[in-house]
Each structure stands twice: as C-alpha cells, then as structure tokens.
C-alpha cells in the first residue's frame, strides 16, 4: 500500500498527471511480471497536508510518496533554487528539468538535503515554462519599470532588486487580477498559463516577453523508511517511471504554455518581445544571485560552485546561450 500526498487539488496539472500517468504506468509495468502490486491511496488537496506541508508529511510518514513544492523550503532545500538564481537562460521546461535531475544525481548535495528530511529523491518536476511581465501599458525595458510596483512571489521578486525604485509587492496568484485592475501594482510577474486562468488579459493587455527561464518547483520524493522496505524490482520500476514523469510533465507544461499564450492574444493581449540588449541590461542590473547561492552552499561544505558550473555547462550543451554568465562572479 502506498499513500500519495500533495496539498494541491487533484485537478492541478502535476497531480493529475501523477494520477493518470505515473500510477497507471507503474501498475502496468508491475503487472508484466506480476510479482508485486501496489494498492494506492491518493490524498490530495489538503486532506492530509497543505501545499507547504508535503515535505514534513513525507518526513513524518503521513504519506509515502509526495510531490514537494520546493520553493517553500529555501532553508531546508537550499540547493533546489538553482534554476531560480540563474534567470535569463532557457525557457524550455524539458531542458531545465533534465539538467536539474542530472545535477541531483551527479552531486550528492540535493539528495543529502532530502535524506536529512528522511526522504528519497525520485524526480524533478518543472511545471511552467517561464515567468513574464504583464502590464497595463506597453513596456520594453527596465527603464519602464523604474519607480513602479510589481506583483510577484518568491525569489523572482529579487529580479527587481537592481531596478531603481521598483518595489516588489507580494501576493497570491488569485490576487493578481485585482491588484492590477485597481492600480495597486503596475505590473505582475506570472507565467502565461496562470495569466490565462486568471484572465489577466482583461486588466493587463501587454505582456513583455522577458523569458526569465523555466524554474524547477516540484520534486517527487518518497519516505526513506517506506522506500527501504520496497523490493528492488518495484524500486526500479518507480525510478524509471519517475524519469518519464519528469519529461512528460515538462512536455505538457510547454504545450500548455504555447496554448495559453495564444489564448492571451485571442483575449486581446499584445506580446512585446524584449530585445536581447534589454534582457542583458536587466540581467546585468541584478545582484549576483547565483554567486550568493553557490557561496552559501560552499560555506556549508557543499560543492555549490561546482554545481553551478555543471548546470550552466549542461544548458550550454543543450544549445542555450546565457544572457548573463552566472559563473563569472564565482571565486
């Protein structure tokens, strides 16, 4: 028996795919040899844990397998912010998901962080392509953001740090529509799919295609005690399916992003593509987030610098040119 938990509702894309892709796929493969069968109990949407509680829920054995939203746990899972501190490289969810997954397996750091939370890493989930800027007025560069208020959440608020007098206003996704429509903020940072869901085109008809890049936000993990008890055949099947789930979800994210962008335009939105120079200007204005991140890990005796270099190399190998070389600030 395996209890699967997530605090997000069953209709969320990654949860839905867990139900309708991950689980059936595992069942099918186990059925081939017919040695083992898993009895799944799926408990989503706060029945056992809230979104922020998945990490602790798996740790404490309230669930056996779960989808941890890593951005809530900067302190326990610092290495998970790798994609977040290296903006302006790749807006391809598939590439970022694969790179992060490989980094996890090549360096012990991320797995160690999870092990400390008494769980075993299975796969990285990248569920959105990239954040963009949605505005009332047409904007083109960070000059237009100076002295304005921008709604956002989490680490992306720090992307505004280098812009003169720009203030990040924290808010939940559901608030952004109202925040923009009342003029509480002038811009909002979110991704196209969310923009479509919350009808952002009605209040912010201009999207600046800044392409900050895809960010890893989800990780599938399993309770260590539970994992240890599994027969190796089952372990192998789960690990295989986890990788397929990683690519499957990233693919869906890309497809949805494209559709959502079309829907945004159909709803009256205009997409302004940010020029390469303007993106560079923004990237250069930011504090050296990546170096800060690497240094923080190095201090704990983890190979932060190496991980950052390896990650950048992987993205370059996949054909992407970083707008800013985030390894430049490393000592």
């Amino acid at each position: 028996k395996a209890v699967v938990i997530d605090g997000y509702p069953a209709k969320s894309m990654w949860v839905d795919e867990f139900s309708n892709f991950f689980i059936p796929e595992v069942n099918e493969r186990l059925a081939k040899t017919n040695n083992y069968k898993i009895d799944w109990q799926e408990s989503y949407g706060g029945t056992i844990v809230k979104p922020k509680g998945v990490l602790d829920g798996i740790k404490l054995g309230l669930g056996d397998i779960g989808i941890v939203t890593t951005i809530f746990h900067n302190s326990k899972l610092p290495s998970q912010s790798l994609a977040g501190v290296t903006p302006f490289i790749s807006a391809d969810a598939r590439v970022v998901a694969k790179a992060i997954d490989e980094i996890t397996k090549e360096f012990p750091t991320m797995e160690k962080e999870f092990a400390r939370q008494k769980q075993v890493y299975l796969a990285t989930g990248v569920v959105l392509d990239t954040y963009q800027i949605f505005s009332k007025e047409r904007i083109e560069s960070i000059k237009d953001l100076e002295g304005s208020k921008v709604a956002g959440a989490g680490i992306i608020l720090r992307y505004l740090d280098g812009i003169e007098n720009a203030a990040g206003v924290r808010g939940g996704l559901t608030d952004f529509y109202n925040m923009v429509s009342t003029g509480l903020v002038d811009h909002a940072m979110l991704w196209p799919e969310a923009a479509e869901t919350f009808k952002i085109a009605e209040v912010a008809p201009f999207m600046l295609k800044a392409d900050f890049g895809a960010v890893n936000t989800k990780t599938v993990t399993t309770n260590s005690r539970f994992w240890k008890k599994l027969p190796s055949e089952v372990k192998q099947v789960i690990q295989e399916v986890a990788i397929e789930y990683r690519d499957h979800v990233a693919n869906i994210a890309m497809n949805r992003a494209k559709k959502s962008l079309d829907a945004y335009i159909a709803a009256g939105g205009t997409v302004v593509t940010m020029s390469q120079e303007a993106r560079k200007e923004w990237a250069d204005s930011m504090p050296d987030l990546a170096a800060e991140w690497a240094e923080g890990l190095d201090k704990k005796g983890e190979p932060g610098t190496e991980m950052l270099r390896a990650y950048m190399a992987k993205l370059k190998a996949a054909g992407f040119t970083p707008t800013r070389d985030w390894t430049a600030g490393l000592k």
């Binding site: 949407g45 029945t47 922020k52 509680g53 404490l60 054995g61 309230l62 559901t174 529509y177 009342t182």
Partner: protein, 435 residues
C-alpha cells in the same frame, strides 16, 4: 476496520465526549490521536500528526483576519456605534407596526458589516433595543426573538469569523467568501423584516406594541453624525476588499486602526476599555485558532484513514442525488446545532462532506455560505443557543426567562431555514456577485 467504520466511530466518539462536557478541541484532538494509533498500530505516527498540525494551522497568513476583525468589532461596539445606528433606524421605522423590530433588524445588518461575530451584535442590541420595545408594550418574547434572530446577521454579512474558518477548511479565498456573504445576508435581513410585517398583519397580538406618540424626526446633521463613522468603516473594509486595494488581512488592520481613531475622536475610549478589547481579542483568537488546529488534526486523521476516497466511491456507486446529500447535510447541521457552537459544526461537517461536494462540480464558495448559515441556525435552538444565552445574560431582567428567549427565536430560526433552502436552490444568490 474500514475507513468508513473509523470515520463513523470517531464522529460518534467526538459527539459523546462533547456532550459529556469535554472541551471541543481536546475531544477532536484526542479522538484523532487514538484513531490513528489504533488504525495503523503506530504511536509515533499519531505523535507526528500532532507535530505537523500544531503550529502549521496557526501559521496561516489569512488567520490574522480573526484577531483584526474581532478587535475592530470590539472597538466599534465599545465606542457605541451600534447604538447610534439603531437610533437612526428607529427614527425611520417607528410608525410601522412592529417598527422597532424592523429597525433592530436593519441596524443589525449595518452593524454586521463591521463586526465579525454575532455575540457582539446580540449583546449590544439586547441592551438598546429590547428595553425600547418593552417601553412600547411589545410582547417580550417577540422583542428578544427579534434581537436573537437578527444577531445572526453578524456572522453572515462580512466580515465574519465563520466565513474565515470555512475558507480555511475548504481552501477558498477569504475575499471571495466575504463577497459571497453580502447578498445572502441582505436577503436574510429582508426576510426577517418581511416576517415581522406578516406577523404584525396576521398575529398582531404576538407582536404587541403601541404606536409611538412622539414623531421626532432626527435632523439630517444628527443622522449624519451617527452614521458617518460606521459607513466610513464599511467603505474601507468592504470597499478595500472588493476593489482589491486591500487583502482581507489588511482590511482588518485598516478597519481596526480607523475604528480606534474614530473612538478616540469621540472620546469614548478609555485606556482601560482599550486594554480590555485587546485582551478579549487575544482570548477569542486563541480559543478559535486552537479549535481550528484541533479540527485540522481531525480532518487529517480522516484523510489518513482514507475516508474522503471511500465517500467519493460510495457516491459514485450509489448515484446519490444532490437533493439527498443536501437534505442529509442540513439535517446533520441542525442536529449538531442543538448543542455545538457554529465553528465546531463547520469544522466537523465540512471535512466529511467536502469530498462529496467537490467532485459534483459545485461551487465551494456557495457551499460555504450554505454551511455557515445552516450551522448558525444552532445559535437560536435549545438547549445550547449561544445567541440566546448572551441575550439573557446581557438583559439581566427576571421578567424574561431563557425559555422566552428560545421561544421568541424559533420563528426567526424558521425564517433562516427558509432562506437556507432558497440559497441552496439558487446558488447565484451567493456567487453571482463574484466576477
């Protein structure tokens, strides 16, 4: 034991313990703890459940609305703003049969928009409105019934502690819940006024009262000075939330600050009563949030047992109709309402029914309004009806027994039930106001 059996036994155990007089949060916590322990034969898992639920539930940002709106409500009533609005309403309704009753309902509806609890409403209006009605020879039962019935508005018209609690359990936005409460609240107030009018028409003896002798209209200036503070508070709070300028938490803080300023300007706030309001706020917050924490332990226990999954399966197999579920739901709430307070009812029934409602594609905001109103009928029903207790206690008048208060409230409890059925049948009444 199957999940269903565990669910049923735990609910029965909780009800028995609560009726016995065990503190409700303790009952919820202990029963959940023991259930998990027995179910999984794992003491540590039970401890882990406590670990994750305690603190986790309190850390919710939107819960800051509980102390903020409570504080605002206390400040507002200590500043005498409830009595003011009543006087204004009364000058308008005096000539009609049952007019003071109608004025009480109207004033309550307005006052409700700045207070988060029915208790504040019940105690304020028991003191101002009941003596006035008795002075004009109203039937005492009718008089207290009106106050009890209309005090319920305090928790339906936003801001409302109950809507906040529901939005936490069902993971809905507090702002949307608040907006959805506006129309049902006004509807209920209108239904009360209509009911009073009908009573005055068909059973005038039950209403009682003689026409007012003095027809003293308030001057415009007086009306203005008595309503402006409340109206400005309502504008800040509800306007702020509706337009998106303020989150519910910020609206609560702004309301508390402005309420305090108004009270200071009017010179009705001593340091002592200010401190009392603060302490009272803290006590209310602590007991509500501790209750919520315990309820979250309970609902997680049900989740671990797999009860939601089982219920959904049963629903699928038996094709239980929407009407059936609603009938069961309302009956259960009325039953629990005899003895439990509103927040406990919400916290016990919602986790049980949410998994049934969600897959049916029904709006959870609408369901929340239904739940809150259904659970509040219990405020008016014996043997434990909080609103009635408060009225009896604040009246301190031997001519009116607790029984009179309960009997007087019954017609209004019935009106609530009618409005509830209306709201169940026409969801647009609650959720039409959202985009």
């Amino acid at each position: 034991m199957s999940p269903i059996e565990i669910g049923v036994i735990s609910v029965i155990a909780i009800i028995v313990l609560v009726y016995l007089g065990l503190y409700i949060p303790v009952a919820l916590g202990v029963v959940s703890f023991v259930s998990i322990w027995l179910m999984r034969d794992d003491f540590e898992l039970s401890m882990n459940l406590l670990k994750i639920a305690v603190g986790d539930s309190v850390m919710e940002y939107t819960f800051a609305t509980v102390p903020l709106f409570t504080f605002m409500g206390l400040i507002v009533s200590k500043a005498g703003m409830g009595a003011d609005i009543y006087e204004v309403m009364n000058s308008g309704f005096k000539k009609v049969k049952g007019g003071i009753g109608m004025a009480t309902v109207g004033a309550n509806a307005v006052f409700a928009a700045v207070t988060g609890s029915s208790i504040a409403s019940a105690s304020v209006f028991a003191k101002v409105s009941v003596p006035e009605m008795l002075k004009y020879d109203y039937n005492p039962r009718f008089a207290v019934g009106v106050v009890a019935g209309s005090s319920v508005l305090g928790m339906i018209i936003p801001p409302s502690a109950m809507l906040i609690i529901y939005s936490f359990v069902a993971e809905q936005s507090v702002g949307e819940m608040f907006l959805a409460g506006v129309v049902p609240g006004i509807l209920l107030a209108a239904a009360y006024i209509a009911a009073i009018w009908l009573m005055g028409k068909f059973i005038p003896k039950y209403v009682g009262g003689k026409p007012a002798t003095e027809y003293e209209w308030m001057s415009f200036k007086e009306i203005f000075s008595k309503t402006a503070p409340l109206v400005s508070l309502i504008t800040i709070v509800l306007g702020g939330i509706y337009t998106g300028w303020l989150t519910p938490v910020e609206a609560g803080a702004a309301g508390a600050a402005v309420g305090l300023i108004i009270a200071l300007i009017r010179g009705k706030m001593s340091l002592k009563s200010f401190w009392e309001a603060l302490i009272e706020t803290g006590h209310i917050t602590a007991s509500i949030l501790f209750l919520i924490t315990a309820a979250s332990i309970y609902s997680r226990m049900l989740g671990l047992a797999g009860l939601p999954n089982e219920l959904a399966l049963i629903l699928e197999q038996n094709q239980m109709s929407f009407m059936m579920i609603m009938v069961i739901y309302v009956c259960l709430m009325l039953f629990l309402g005899t003895l439990l307070d509103t927040s406990s009812i919400i916290l016990i029934v919602v986790p049980l029914f949410l998994p049934l409602i969600e897959p049916m594609g029904l709006s959870l905001v609408w369901f929340g309004i239904i739940t809150v109103i259904g659970a509040e009928i219990g405020l008016l029903t014996p043997p434990l009806g909080i609103s009635c207790f408060v009225i009896k206690a604040s009246l301190d008048d031997d001519r009116i027994s607790l029984k009179d208060v309960f009997m007087g409230s019954l017609p209004f409890a019935f009106v609530m039930l009618v409005v509830l059925i209306l709201l169940i049948n026409y969801p647009v009444l609650s959720i039409g106001i959202l985009h």
